[in-house]
């Protein structure tokens, strides 16, 4: 399996030297992204693409190339698999569409394809997929030109059933500064399924979290067993839950619609976090970098009265408690007030306190309480104000380092968001040394995901 992601040589079938040919984009994507393995192009007619000669007679290929990508019309796929077999190629990505997603599930063409693959002991991803993007080996097999420079390296890996969702996830995880290690577009999952891929990612040293987008689940029991056995968090965005969606899915990736309530229950049993959309996957990705949240009791603090009210609502709707804090501690915090007008409670309105020492004091004291499991902070950021704070926490880097240290020292999570100019928030996210959420409500959802993860983990 590893050589799917780290091949030292790769051949693309279906290349032609004309502007409308898609297969040649696979070569340019790999080259541009910096893939260092040897590349071969195979096509019907000789020619040159991206500095490579097109091999028109596959017999001229060397034996034992690590990986083949096939993008030829569906009716030629099986014979191309035969060619691969004869050339001792054991790993294939079949990008071509036009199999079960177009109708009759047991179409002969699929049977022939599976038969040929078995005959030569070939494992393949797809068909009807865009293959793999790996930010480590720089392999990038989508057949549309990719903005490879945008891809950011990270520790999350994704298994995605749809090609469009694959590229969008690659961009979105990168734009959100979370990045990814590997993204696999699994397509029709005819040979290699999400289960094979999860198994690989569980052992992959560069992967810390496994994210999936699934439209169908073929072997729910095995998925649950694998997820239970994984020490890495598994987060799944499962779509195709409505009647309308299942109509598209049928023609999309031949998905069967699972009973959504069964899926929901099974996921909980396996400790799988369920995401609602791609953005939700990124929230989970960030949340799971925090220390464990081992209970439901939070302190919510904002430097704005409005946001403390918003936090209070969000906490309640996600089933969190904001317990009353010791009066003695409240009085000490109240001593820091400027106007002396706001009485401190939980959620805590810090609007009248403009002293970083007060914030440090409050965070440390609250997290030290044994009946507090974590803290949510909606912070204000304004460069001029931050300078006033001084004390080594004036710059965004220093601010994040400060929060990271408190979390490490107390082993309790702080879900941090800022109310500020968009570009400053982006700057905090870009620094990426400590999770920063897009807004206060998102930070509460993040805590809920973190809570679910630790609550559902068995043993």
């Amino acid at each position: 399996m590893k050589k799917f992601f780290y091949p030292s040589s790769m051949v693309v079938f279906g290349v032609a030297d004309n502007p409308r040919n898609l297969a040649k984009n696979i070569l340019s994507n790999c080259k541009n992204m910096g893939f260092s393995g040897k590349l071969y192009a195979v096509g019907k007619k000789p020619g040159t693409v991206h500095g490579l000669n097109i091999v028109d007679n596959p017999n001229d290929l060397p034996k034992g190339i690590d990986l083949a990508v096939i993008l030829v019309p569906a009716r030629y796929v099986t014979e191309t698999i035969e060619v691969c077999g004869k050339k001792e190629i054991r790993r294939v990505i079949i990008s071509t569409g036009g199999f079960r997603e177009l109708g009759d599930e047991s179409s002969d063409i699929e049977k022939d394809l599976l038969f040929a693959a078995r005959k030569y002991d070939i494992r393949f991803i797809g068909p009807n997929c865009i293959g793999i993007i790996c930010t480590d080996s720089k392999i990038c097999t989508p057949f549309t030109p990719m903005q490879y420079a945008r891809f950011k390296k990270g520790t999350a890996s994704l298994i995605v059933q749809s090609g469009g969702v694959t590229t969008q996830s690659a961009y979105h995880f990168s734009d959100e500064h979370i990045g990814f290690s590997k993204i696999i577009s699994a397509g029709n999952k005819l040979n290699i399924t999400e289960l094979d891929l999860i198994k690989y990612l569980i052992d992959d040293k560069d992967t810390e979290q496994i994210h999936l987008y699934l439209e169908s689940i073929e072997d729910g029991r095995e998925l649950i067993r694998l997820a239970k056995s994984s020490n890495k968090p598994v987060i799944i965005f499962k779509s195709n839950v409505s009647h309308a969606a299942s109509q598209i899915a049928k023609s999309h990736t031949a998905a069967l619609s699972n009973n959504d309530k069964i899926v929901g229950g099974a996921f909980k049993q396996a400790g799988i976090i369920r995401a609602k959309n791609i953005q939700d996957l990124t929230i989970a990705a960030r949340a799971l970098k925090l220390p464990p949240l081992k209970g439901n009791r939070l302190v919510a603090i904002s430097l704005s009265g409005g946001f403390s009210v918003i936090l209070g609502d969000a906490c309640e709707s996600y089933g969190f408690e904001c317990p009353a804090l010791p009066r003695e501690l409240m009085e000490k915090i109240e001593d820091f007030r400027r106007g002396g007008v706001i009485r401190m409670s939980n959620p805590m309105d810090f609007g009248d306190i403009h002293d970083i020492k007060a914030l440090v004091f409050t965070l440390e004291r609250c997290l030290a309480l044994n009946y507090i499991d974590g803290l949510i902070l909606s912070f204000m950021y304004e460069p001029e104000m931050a300078k006033m704070f001084g004390d080594g926490i004036g710059s965004p880097e220093q601010i994040l380092r400060f929060f990271k240290k408190i979390c490490q020292d107390t082993n309790k999570p702080i879900a941090l968001s800022f109310f500020s100019v968009r570009e400053y928030i982006e700057e905090f996210k870009r620094i990426n040394t400590f999770p920063v959420f897009n807004d206060s409500v998102e930070s509460v959802r993040a805590m809920w995901m973190l809570r679910e993860y630790w609550r559902l983990r068995k043993g």
């Binding site: 689940i217 029991r221 069967l256 229950g265 099974a266 909980k268």
Partner: protein, 226 residues
Amino acid sequence: MKIIKNALKEGRTVLSEHESKSVLAYYQIPVSREILVDNTETLMEALQEIGYPAVLKGCSSEISHKTEKGLIYLDIRNENEARNAFDKITKDIGGLKGSVLVQEMIKGQRELVIGLTRDPQFGPCVMFGLGGIFTEILKDISFRLAPLEKRDALEMMQDIKAHKILDAIRGMEPADKDMLVDILIKVGKIGLENEEVKEIDINPVILSGSKPVAADALIILEKPNV
């Protein structure tokens, strides 16, 4: 199980209420006390045994929606009422193969549903939810894969929106959660141990005080793949 094998041998894929409850009882799931009768003599004996108030139901594997068909007579308080109900039921089920079930009337205001479905991807899954007429209207249900651990059973009860119905509300006792956990685990076990069981529908499970009792049940079978 014999009941299941016999039904399949007879070419039936539906167990009658009485047969379904026998399967549940075999797994020590609490079911209503009941006796199957087919003439007035045995009816009277059964009433002696069960006592009043009683419930009379048409019972046949060929009848599934008893309420809609007017085959349930609740709160029978004397011999006269019993005779009337018996005559009406036997008339209504007419040519169908069946008899009359005399049942204790379980008193309780809270009705739950516990079930099992064999999902093509996830295998046997246990269901829990609000029972009676609310099952279909609100669909407030949750699922877990069999086999269930205790915490799965506890969590799935907590999963439904109306989970507070299990608490001490309006002067009622809190539901015996240990018993509910036990039933949920056992229903999963029935699914795991009997491949022929396609669906189980125990609706309602009535909370009699704190104790859950299966007041009605239906088991659907499928022929195992040969």
